[in-house]
Amino acid sequence: MILRSLLVAGAAEACEPPRLEPSTRIEGKQHVLLFRGVPSPPPLNAAFAVEIAVCARNGASVAAPRVDAWMPAHRHGMNYRPSVVAKSPGSFRAEGLLLHMPGRWELVFEVGGERLTAAHVLD
């Protein structure tokens, strides 16, 4: 009985986003998110889009994430605010990203109050 409860609890904490391949995977405490740049990898100083697939570990539906990017070492972000549209449940597309400097950027996805990040280095 105890074992069954643990399994149920474990199952509730796992989720699998809609298929998106190839992609980068971010495991958050509350969400699992896949993303890929279009084009991939994201270019230097040219607009690009990001395709996103995300699920909530508690099984709830997921609202459109807020997408951003910044350079931690420079303490500045982009000069653009991406727009995000839902494609299907758990699948989104962000448009209007532009990384205008070489160096280490951090892509930021804010989803359901959780902040998920992935590094992207532009030479």
């Binding site: 607009a47 500045h76 000069n79 653009y80 727009s83 448009e95 209007g96 205008h100 070489p102 030479d123």
Partner: protein, 389 residues
């Protein structure tokens, strides 16, 4: 015989001394390679249906030097954009019907821009071309006056018909004035900077030709090393045109005689109220020129005091420098980056710029590199091509 040998050795010594190639690291070579190749191929502007069309270029060239575009025939585009000065002018701030707050920007390589003007108030070259024609401080014309000129002048009217495939008599004022701007844009797309000693160096380095690469003076090579290294200049002056086409505060004051120059902040405001952007009805191909950057550009507080990062090609010919023309020489520009007051930055916590604290030799080297970004012989003269006859 011996004195002749000694004499030859003495004469050749300076040449041997200059024929040196610094030991650039792999990372430095990669960085240097990214500033080329040059020139990039021409790709037509999809938002302008006559981009690259010879008949439109001829009309645009004619209009560029046409003083009748100003009602009192006092000004043409060429009044400020002097071909002999890299299509800019020697005075610090433009002088139209009144004194303006900014330096006339060079038109060299303007086809490669994402934003136009010091504040990026336009997202396409034809809108940028129309602005000074209608600005009361500059040519002070109207769409109606521009249209009347194109309709009533037999030579221009025939030239328009060849360029646009329709009779000017049947086109309304707004559309005709924008067509004039699109012809001007087509012409300005032909204004490009020629290859430079830096390009020869960069290409030689890439193909491993040490002898050819060593022809660039060693001071300029040291300057390149500073540019891609200690100076961090490539954060903003990147790619083959040496600009990221974005906007930054570099500590140049933005107060003017009449108040404050809003810089990029004002530019975004202009962009959002303009009917002449890529998001508007005059874009000839929204599918290929969808205005993604315009749709997503975000005004931020730090935009006050930010101005466009200019390209550096042929920079020695486009003095004075900065948005207000306040620095007269390239040496002053390099000294500014060496010694500026960080308190003057309007950067909202950005940590990009810090005074470089350069020594005199380093300043000389960076200036030598910037000089190497100017052609040793003039390229094709865009002003000399066919005009309307």
């Amino acid at each position: 015989m011996r004195p002749i040998v000694v004499l030859l050795a003495l004469l050749l010594a300076p040449l041997a001394a200059t024929a040196e190639l610094l030991d650039f690291s792999a990372a430095e070579r990669t960085q240097i390679a990214r500033h080329g190749p040059w020139p990039p191929p021409f790709t037509p502007d999809p938002s302008n249906r006559v981009s690259g069309k010879p008949e439109a270029i001829a009309l645009g060239r004619t209009l560029f030097f046409e003083t009748r575009l100003s009602p009192d025939r006092r000004f043409s585009c060429a009044s400020c954009h002097d071909p002999a000065l890299g299509w800019s002018e020697a005075r610090a701030r433009s002088q139209g019907r009144t004194s303006l707050d900014r330096n006339t920007p060079s038109l060299l390589d303007i086809r490669l821009r994402r934003w136009f003007g010091w504040d990026g108030g336009h997202d396409n070259l034809w809108a940028m071309s129309l602005r000074p024609i209608l600005d009361p401080r500059e040519l002070a014309s109207t769409p109606s006056a521009v249209a009347t000129l194109l309709r009533d002048d037999a030579t221009l009217s025939a030239c328009y018909a060849r360029a646009f495939g329709r009779n000017a008599a049947g086109v309304d004022d707004d559309a005709l004035s924008i067509d004039a701007a699109k012809a001007l844009a087509a012409f300005q797309e032909t204004i490009g900077s020629a290859r430079t000693p830096f390009d020869d160096f960069r290409d030689a380095l890439e193909r491993g030709d040490r002898e050819a690469a060593s022809r660039l003076p060693v001071a300029a090579q040291r300057g390149i090393r500073l540019f891609v290294g200690k100076g961090n200049c490539t954060f903003c002056h990147l790619g083959s045109a040496f600009t990221n086409d974005e906007f930054h505060s570099i500590g140049i004051p933005f107060f003017t005689a009449s108040g404050v120059d809003g810089g990029r902040h004002a530019g975004i405001r202009t962009l959002r109220t303009s009917r002449h952007t890529l998001l508007g009805p005059w874009n000839d191909n929204p599918d290929l020129a969808p205005g993604t950057a315009t749709r997503h550009v975000e005004p931020q507080h730090r935009n006050f005091g930010e101005f466009r990062v200019p390209g550096l090609r042929d920079v020695a010919r486009t003095a004075p420098y900065m948005h207000d023309g306040s620095l007269a020489t390239l040496r002053e520009v390099v000294r500014h980056y060496s010694d500026f007051d960080p308190e003057r930055l309007h950067s909202d916590g950005e940590a990009i710029l810090a005074p470089l604290k350069l020594g005199d030799t380093e300043i000389d080297d960076l200036v030598a590199f910037l000089d190497a970004l100017s052609p040793t012989s003039p390229g094709p003269d865009a002003s000399a091509g066919p005009r309307c006859e």
